[in-house]
Amino acid sequence: MAWDIAFDPMMMSRWRKSSLRTRLTILYVALLVLLLTGLGALLYWDVKAFLISSTAVRLRAQAKPVIERWLMDVQAGEAATQFLLSIAASLARDLTSRDTTALILDHNGAVLANGRLLPEEPLPAPVDPERVARALAGENEITYSVMVGDQHTMVLLIPLRPQPGHPYIVGVAQLNTPLTAVDQILWREQRLIIFGSVLTILLGMAGSFWLTSSALRPLRRMTDACRRIAAGDFSERVNLPPRHSGQTRDEVVQLASAFNDMITRIEDTFASQQRFIADAAHELRTPLTAIKGSLEVLLRGSQDDPTNAKRLTRAMYNEVERLSRLTEQLLDLTQLQNGIILHRSLIDLERWLQEEFMPQAHLLVKESHLELRPGEPAKLYVDPDALKQVLFNLIDNAVQHTSTSGNIQLGWQVTATAVSIWVADDGEGIAPADLPHIFSPFYRGDRSRSRLRGGAGLGLTIVKRIVEAHGGQVRVASTPGEGTCVTLLFPVNPVLSGV
């Protein structure tokens, strides 16, 4: 039955659809039923076997001296048969009591005497010739039970010998005893086991239900929290039980705690994204105002004056340039935020700078001097395009913050653990108050000045992201009025760099 249910596809699908709590409870209860049934049955059979065997032993012990006394002087042979015939009635009567009736059978299995005289003495079971034959063949321990009327009766067959152990067998004594007392005890035992099992199962069911409920409660809370978060409330957390010192947290609480950590992280990310979008929108506002206003002024009639038209058109062109630069940087940053895929290769730093980077950099740096200050030979395992972007950003920054006669230097240093590439200028420097913020998106120390030259305040953010993706660090040292030095620390991989 149980197997049929388990393999019924309907039941299986319902099983899969049911809640974890239901499934755990069902499993637990099923296990309990199996265990209790097995144990109960075992106990029942054990008690039954004990009661029956102890009854048999008692009867045999009682019968033994009676039989020995009656058969003491018997001689093997025909005389013995005659003797048995003469004493059979008395022997049967002696072996009979309130709970036992004895039959005496001769060596042919015929009944010689029935010990039952009084009505309260039990009825004997009918003779089983096959078993009697086995007893006559010398089998000592034949015990079995049959139904006599509605009475469960135990039957013992005892071979009758002149002396204990003697091979000659005169006849058989059949002792019949009803198992009323044993049956009563067993019936009570059975009730006890069933009642106890049912009670235990009920308690177990309630217990397991409570246990799984309480164990799964944080999960349920987590589900609720998830729903509220999905609805947009990122301040939502799963309530955790207070942590007492030395108390270990169970797995579900650990999960809830990890879940809370995750939500905190998401909330932070979300907030910083929103801040970023707000900042970006703010950055777009000024160029948009300028373009919109210029267009309005032109359309209102200034276009009729070629000088004004030219000035405003040029200014608008610059603003559009600014917007596209900003858009470009926003795209870069978004790509970096989505996780940077680095296409690393091993480069010889000096050769790469001389042949790849500097020719392009000199296109950018027309007014200021850009000087390369080589260090020891170094090989770097980096993404060359990303490194180029980083250095361009730094040099662009340096250009923006130096006078036209200013000097920009690009160099590197090799230590045991890192290759540090630095870009230094002798420009205006960064105010100490601004230093902690320079890597934040859209932060500009001297707002208007750098905006005039087109920076959106994203350059250093991009630099930092790229360098950190390489496992490196960015350090900035600056003295207002004397200049700024940005150092990129790339950790050396001894195997790859071959230093």
Binding site: R285, A290, G301, Q303, R311, L312, R447, R451
Partner: protein, 234 residues
Amino acid sequence: MNSSPPRVLIIEDEQTIVEFLRVGLAYEGFQVEIARDGWSGLRLFNGQEFDLVVLDLMLPDLDGLEICKRLRSVNADVAIILLTARREIPDRIAGLNLGADDYVTKPFSFEELLARIRAVLRRRGRPQEQPVVAAAGIVLNSATHEVHKNGEPIDLTPKEFALLELFMRHPRRVFTRETLLNRIWGFDFAGDTNVVDVHVHHLREKIGDRAKRLIRTNYGLGYSFRPDDDESLA
């Protein structure tokens, strides 16, 4: 028209915004001075008489609110309009509390700024466009929207009135059809410049200028109002 044009000081560091404000306001008949940071703004303000200051709250050197306070302490009568970014709502309130008359939020439209400038000047009783303009026997009152020619009332549609007002306030200036269309029908007007010609034609009829002496057609350019030349005919 006889009074001197209103003098406006713009304190703003954004090059392009300065550029269009200067060109636009000058075109609208204001006399414009520019300061690219707070200090030079204050210096200019102390040296000259201004009717109105357009002040950006975000300047490289001085806090815009601080400038606002100083301007107000020097001159209680000057009108001050703040340029702000949307996120600085507390700044706007602080600015108004510190004596600014109004503010516009970036990105603002030039027309909106112009409207606010005119409203603020009006409130302050500053020199501004006189409601009544008279030339070549035509008297136009923009406050009452009435036009008289030699004492006789003339019935004009709103567009015709606006055209005539623009012409009379800017005598001798040549307006292209596009400019007239943009200023009177709006930037988003979808029609073509013929509508200007049609309205000018009607206007000429109504003011008795069939000879096209008052409103001249400048071939290849547009239209202009020439009352002085007409005086000989009057």
